[in-house]
């Protein structure tokens, strides 16, 4: 016993010396040396093996990408890197039911094709968004920022789909790690992805057009498929069938061998998708459902696999009231407009509560569900899950929706979803219970590869961060670099400013500027034609430079850097 202990102690000290180097090497280029060992031991950790199944202060050992030991008093292999996760929590890596992590947004022109001289009633399949034969595997970029963003939240696996309209293409289940696209793929052609959205301006341009197109393609595919089968069985006397890659993509669905993964945010989308399903009879999986509470019984009766959206409507912020203004208000009697406004505000708050309570309603309704991040902002996801829990979702049900249920829906239960021997080493380690308000993800393992999170505590502003001045920034968007100047005036609590962009020629006023330690968040609106959409800069300021991301509504999130222009 003593000898073992000694040996372990020596190994442990050695490893402690090595560990920082290993971590450092992770952060470097792919050209770096392979890790010295692929064995890790996470010690003194609260192991949440599965929803409702917990081991206090145990050890998890992983080796070559597989979990090889879970429990108390597990021997630590001598070659293991030991992660002292004292009082931290380890869970199975989370699984996202529908996402575009690792799939860069295509440039507008290339995604829609050339529309010059195109008959809008008879567009090319690309222009119409009818590309069910596109395989998302051909579009994967392992180093896309979205992979890291999702992984930093504890997600290790995601079902991803191409961008597009009604029939964007084939989904794949991927690992949120790995150096090449091929290394990422866990399940190819995991689903046949569809949305009720249109390319606008060309056929089909309406919901009813999409429904008609779906029926037309499906029935055509059924006919060509049976004719091809007849031809294959005996070719004599029959005309050669002409292969159509679009119709061929339907064949596995018609054979009930592939599921149609339908994005259905709104309650009416869900109904419409069921209308198609009932007409045509394909197997169905619903995803990114945001308004599912009126259709729980329908989903339950059909026994459909469903992923609820992690995107929630913003909670109403308490307005900071000026005391003086308050006094004035108290004197004035309420006008009819005030009363109407109050009633509408109240209704809006009740409506928000319904969205936040959706997951809890599904739990109460006895319908198993996973989550999907497709339309959610990465930095809001953890808070959104907590809001769902505050609205009545149990922590176990939340964990099931992140791990065991999606594993089962995607046919991965034998490989992942729980912290058990033999499962893939997909783990998330947070400093507190993941659902705790202050919890931060510290480590993530994807297929046994170790990622350490850069946990940055927001420092109290010590006056050293000076954001006032003129900043030149560059954002890398799919349409090229976007550069401009951001001018911030004033001091803490009283900032104001403007911003210019090379992608528009106007100057916008900054709507909000908030500085928390060295974290700077700036928002403004960009107007394009008659549309206006919000932009958010989230950057970390270090002296005369900043680095972070720029989020442009539905267009996604892009890396941004900036430097301060010297004062004249």
């Amino acid at each position: 016993m003593k000898r073992t202990l000694n040996r372990l102690t020596i190994g442990f000290i050695g490893l402690l010396l090595c560990a920082p180097m290993l971590i450092w090497s992770q952060a470097q280029d792919e050209k770096e040396l392979a890790p010295v060992t692929r064995t890790y031991a996470i010690t003194n950790v609260n192991i949440v093996q599965a929803p409702g199944k917990k081991i206090d202060m145990g050890t998890v050992v992983i080796k070559n990408g597989i979990i090889t030991g879970v429990g108390k008093g597990i021997p630590i292999p001598p070659e293991a890197v030991v992660i002292k996760a004292d009082s931290m929590y380890v869970y199975a890596g989370f699984i996202d039911g529908l996402s575009r992590a690792g799939v860069p947004r295509p440039k507008e022109e290339s995604s829609r094709g050339d529309r010059t001289n195109m008959d809008p009633g008879n567009p090319t399949p690309e222009a119409a968004g009818v590309t069910p034969n596109v395989d998302v595997r051909t579009l994967l970029k392992p180093d896309d920022k979205s992979v890291e963003e999702l992984r930093n939240l504890g997600f290790t696996v995601a079902q991803v789909v191409p961008y597009g309209n009604l029939l964007p293409g084939q989904a794949a289940v991927i690992s949120l790690g790995g150096g090449t696209a091929d290394q990422m793929v866990i399940v190819k052609n995991s689903a046949f992805y569809s949305e009720l959205s249109t390319a606008r301006g060309v056929y089909p341009s309406t919901t009813m057009g999409v429904m008609a197109k779906w029926r037309d393609l499906y029935r055509n595919a059924s006919l060509t498929k049976s004719y091809e089968a007849m031809y294959a069985s005996n070719r004599s006397g029959l005309e050669r069938p002409v292969a159509d890659p679009i119709l061929e993509a339907f064949y596995p669905v018609i054979d009930q061998k592939q599921t149609v993964l339908f994005k259905a945010e709104k309650v009416l989308d869900v109904h419409r998708v069921y209308t198609l399903k009932n007409d045509l009879g394909f197997p169905l999986m619903l995803a990114d459902v945001k308004e599912g509470w009126p259709v729980i019984s329908k989903i339950k009766a059909a026994n459909t696999k469903v992923f609820l959206s992690l995107d929630l409507p913003e909670e109403k912020k308490e307005e900071k009231k000026d005391d003086k203004k308050d006094d004035k208000k108290a004197e004035k009697p309420k006008t009819a407009a005030d009363i109407e406004k109050e009633a509408l505000e109240k209704r809006k708050a009740e409506s928000i509560a319904l969205y936040v309570g959706q997951a809890s309603d599904f739990q109460k309704g006895g319908v198993a569900f996973g989550f999907s991040s497709l339309s959610a902002k990465a930095k809001e996801i953890q808070a959104s899950i907590r809001r769902m829990i505050a609205a009545g979702l149990s922590e176990d049900a939340a964990l099931a929706a992140l791990t065991t249920t999606p594993a089962s829906f995607l046919g991965l239960s034998d490989r992942m979803g729980t912290v058990e021997n033999g499962k893939a080493a997909n783990l998330v380690i947070s400093d507190k219970s993941y659902f705790d308000e202050k919890a931060k993800v510290r480590y993530v393992f994807v297929d046994g590869v170790y990622y350490k999170m850069d946990v940055r505590e927001a420092k109290k502003s010590d006056g050293k961060v000076d954001i006032a001045g003129s900043w030149a920034y560059t954002a890398e968007t799919p349409n090229g670099s976007n550069t401009g100047t951001m001018v911030i005036k004033g001091s803490a609590g009283n900032f104001s400013g403007t911003i210019t962009s090379s992608m528009g020629n106007s100057t916008a006023d900054l709507k909000s500027i908030s500085l928390d330690g060295d974290n700077l968040t700036v928002t403004y609106d960009v107007t394009m034609g008659s549309n206006s959409f919000p932009i958010e800069f989230t950057v970390v300021v270090a002296g005369d430079s900043f680095e972070g991301s720029m989020t442009a509504g539905r267009f996604g999130s892009f890396p941004v850097t900036g430097t301060k222009n010297p004062k004249n």
């Binding site: 008959d119 919901t207 008609a212 029926r215 009416l268 407009a337 319904l354």
Partner: protein, 460 residues
Amino acid sequence: MTETMKKILTILILFCTGYIGFAQVEKGSVLIKNGTVLTVTKGTLENTDVLIKDGKISQIGKNISAPSGVSTIDATGRFVMPGIIDAHSHLGIDGINEGTNAITPEVWTGDALNPFQVGIYRALAGGVTASHAMHGSANSIGGQCETIKHRYGTYDPEVLKMEGAPRTIKFALGENPTGGGRRKNLQPQSRMGVEFVIRKAFSEGKEYMDKWDAYNKAKNTKGFRGAPPAYSLRLETMADILKGNIIIHCHAYRADEINMLLQVCKEFGVKKLVFQHTNEGFKVAPELAAFGAGASVFADWWAYKLEVYFSTPYNAAILVRNGVVTTINSDSGDFIRHLYHQAAKTQKYGGLNDDEALSLITINSAKQLGIDSRVGSIEVGKDGDIAIFKNHPLSIYGVPMTTIVDGVVRFDREKDPADKRLMADPRETIDVTVFVSDSGHENCMQGTEDMSDFLFGIKN
């Protein structure tokens, strides 16, 4: 507890008990006591009761007592008429025109129903219990339409559909389809072009139908081997029109193009035809009557584009006197709330009697939509779709008080909450109507307070 809270609670309770399930249409029972019953088809019955049981009119007469558990509405001094039916509306659908192609008969508004549109409730407040949710007039052959019942309160679009109503389809002639063609530099760009597009579609539909008929016949012979014809939902729909399974509702204003479509339909053997708008219908009323085509018109609305200048408010009366099945429609979320006023205008312009005027918004609409065996009049066995008015519906003082669909009270003026939305947008920007203060101030100089010095040389 507030009204909204109660509503939400009720909704939650309904979910928990699994009440809202598959396209389950709610049917109700109610006894309407002692009203003046305007049956439309069987005259006016004073001091008469109407009993609706499980969604159907089960008894009309005097001194009917309410079966146990059936509530009673006292209609003493009130007028009880069949629920109004709007033969031309775009209410309750998401998206109206699939206008990208000259013909899109394969699309169907029934696929895009939206039961949350509060306009449905507003229509109920005008006594309207059913409407024809039509495709638009952007293309020569637009989409198929859906006849909906105003079952406002359902979350399920399927429940809006009037079960068993025949299929209908929108056609359009004149400036709308030709304007679209010109903008896109595609057919049709002229009235000749519209005729050609429709003839071509019918011809291709006929060819398609023949090919499939031949294939289906051959397929059943022993040892058959061969390829099926290419499938097309578009041409299949054209074939369905030719087979008489779909009623055409054609947007048309001018007499010449009305005659054109009558001729084309005759040639292709199509018999089920209703013209919409039909502002020059009065010029071709005998021809319409001879064909058996219906006409759906506005009471007195025209001159909003060139082809709608030659019009008269006597149009409806002339059509009726010529034996054309005629209706007055709304084509508008506003007009749908006072179709009874629109119908009443035919009494001033053309002197139609009460039953004739009411027919324009009830039984005739039902005939044009092929649902007259179910709705459009107060008769035993028909659906319990009723509008109860304070004062006669054709009077300028007529006010719809209660509207009943399938025996279920869907609108009650006495219980009309401020917020009747079924879903509230959680991201909406709340924008409140600005009320002008009614405290007696003069407002004509509002906003000039700071200018008083300049204007009058006085200080405020």
